[in-house]
């Protein structure tokens, strides 16, 4: 794959330490990464009933921003996202597709009434971005609880995972994660 993976910071939402993001992602996904800001009218995706934003519709909008030289795009937002059948999501991706979306809303300690922890927030966001990108490469959830492709239904699950694919998932992707 020669084309780029774009990280889109929706409405200029930059998680802490975001400048490390592309280098950290490249340790497991050795592709060219670019980042940019996209401006989206989030009101279009807002559900008054749920006080949340419709993830699938937002992701569809995000795909329109994928540049011509882009292979994939992953959006990063700080709003609380949902799909109709679930109460909340950390992220959503098109399986073996081009787009993914990650929300930092429930990755933030602040949401759980805990003191701010930027390093932890960054680690969680980076793992979720890697997880959703893994789906866009066709990976499904992995039973290895340390693998970044393990399914996370609680934020604690994300903290348990490592920020890399397990050997099985690396083999499926045809990559070797570098230590970092």
């Amino acid at each position: 794959m020669n084309e780029k993976i774009y990280i889109a910071f929706i409405n200029g939402h930059f998680p802490p330490f975001w400048k490390n993001l592309t280098a950290d992602l490249r340790r497991c996904l050795p592709y060219p990464f670019e980042h940019f800001v996209v401006n989206v009218d989030l009101k279009l995706f807002y559900s008054m009933d749920r006080n949340q934003y419709h993830s699938t519709l937002l992701l569809a909008q995000l795909l329109k921003f994928l540049p011509e030289d882009g292979e994939k795009i992953v959006g990063v937002t700080d709003v609380d996202i949902f799909i109709p059948i679930l109460t909340f999501l950390f992220g959503e991706a098109q399986l073996a597709g081009k787009g993914a979306l990650v929300s930092t809303y429930r990755l933030n300690n602040h949401f759980y009434g805990l003191p701010k922890d930027d390093e932890l927030l960054y680690q969680r966001a980076m793992k979720e971005i890697l997880h959703e990108l893994g789906h866009t490469f066709g990976l499904i959830h992995c039973p290895d609880y340390e693998c970044v492709m393990n399914s996370s239904t609680y934020v604690e699950n994300i903290d348990l995972k490592r920020n890399r694919f397990c050997l099985g998932c690396q083999k499926k992707l045809g990559v070797t994660c570098q230590e970092g």
């Binding site: 699938t56 109709p84 679930l86 109460t87 909340f88 399986l95 959830h141 399914s151 239904t153």
Partner: protein
Amino acid sequence: MKPYKILIVDDELSVRTSLKEWFLEEGFTVETAESGEDALNKMHTGPYDLILLDIKMPGMDGITLQKKIKEIDEDAIIIIMTAYASVDTAVEALKLGAFDYVTKPFDPDDLSQLIRNALKQKELTSENVQLKEKISELSGVDDIIGQSEEMKRVFEMVDTVAETDSTVLIRGESGTGKELIARAIHSRSKRRYFPIVAVNCGAIPETLLESELFGHEKGAFTGAQYRRKGKLELANGGTLFLDEIGDISFKMQIDLLRVLEGKRFTRLGGSDEIQVDFRLICATNKNLEKLVEEEKFREDLYYRINVFSIFLPPLRKRKSDIIMLANHFIQKYARSMGKPKKSIASNVQEMMLEYSWPGNVRELENAIERAMVIGKGPEITIEDLPLHINTTEKSNPGKVKLSDLEKDHILRILEETGGNVTKAANLLGIDRVTLYNKMKKYGVKR
């Protein structure tokens, strides 16, 4: 590991899409249906490991759909989804066999947990079914089905005699299930923890039958390189089932009588007497009284084995059991072939009731197995059944010669067995030599 197959039934596209994505990421094979009718059509394409149903849909609602799905696959694991939870509908869904009832939207962790539990239940159910099938394969007793008065009497007799240690003679046409009854008696008797050893006396040449029953010492005859235990010894503590007892030679009748009187015998070529303890069950489709009259069967042996007699009626005499048996075999083969259960078209049911089933339950089972293999739709149709069942037998039988009927029937059975005389003889309930003679008489070639 085989991916689990799931069916999502919901009239809302967004629910179908988002659930489908969620399950795809979990590695499931996912199919969706937008209505009850759509779901029922999909049910006929293959069994699903898990089915999620929306309770409120236009047209057929979730509760009705759940009932219909259970008719097709009674082991289906169904989870009912609703946006408007009410205790009444939840109770009704669970009473009708739903695995669980959940309110939309779900918490992701609740959904994961629910799916894990449901699949564990599915695995346990499948394992349980497989183990039961294995046990019933070994004992064979699950295939004894019947609600007709004739079969009720048979079941009563089985229960009565099982507890005793009496010798039992089971009589009935070929294919009526005599061996199954023998196994049922054994499995209900105090000897059930010991083996039941079956010997088909009609299928073994006389010279071999002797060594088969009594065993032999090394060097007893040419080719006897090792000492070998006979079936009598192997049945020690358990049950000896002698099928087609009416076919054994006069000499063997004398030998057998001696064993039955003293429960002692010697292996061929041996000199030591061996003491055995077994219960004897015999079966035959022959008229033993007539054979005794003709002095082809020893009277003393006849009285020795005819202590308690059970007569198995032919299938044509218990028509009320035919459809029940057919449905039992459909379920059995649907499970073993991993196919959805089929129903029987009403015209086929009528035809099955009219047909005389000369091969009895065995013929019915073969017909259903064939229909399950070749049938395409959700129903068993006339085309799925063997040709000879497919022809009407009501065409003015008063004007047809008996020999013509016999010839036609032999031809049909040979056609069904692909010219295999052994199988055809078995289905016809006669031995191979008799069939060859009849084929010669009627000029029938294989």
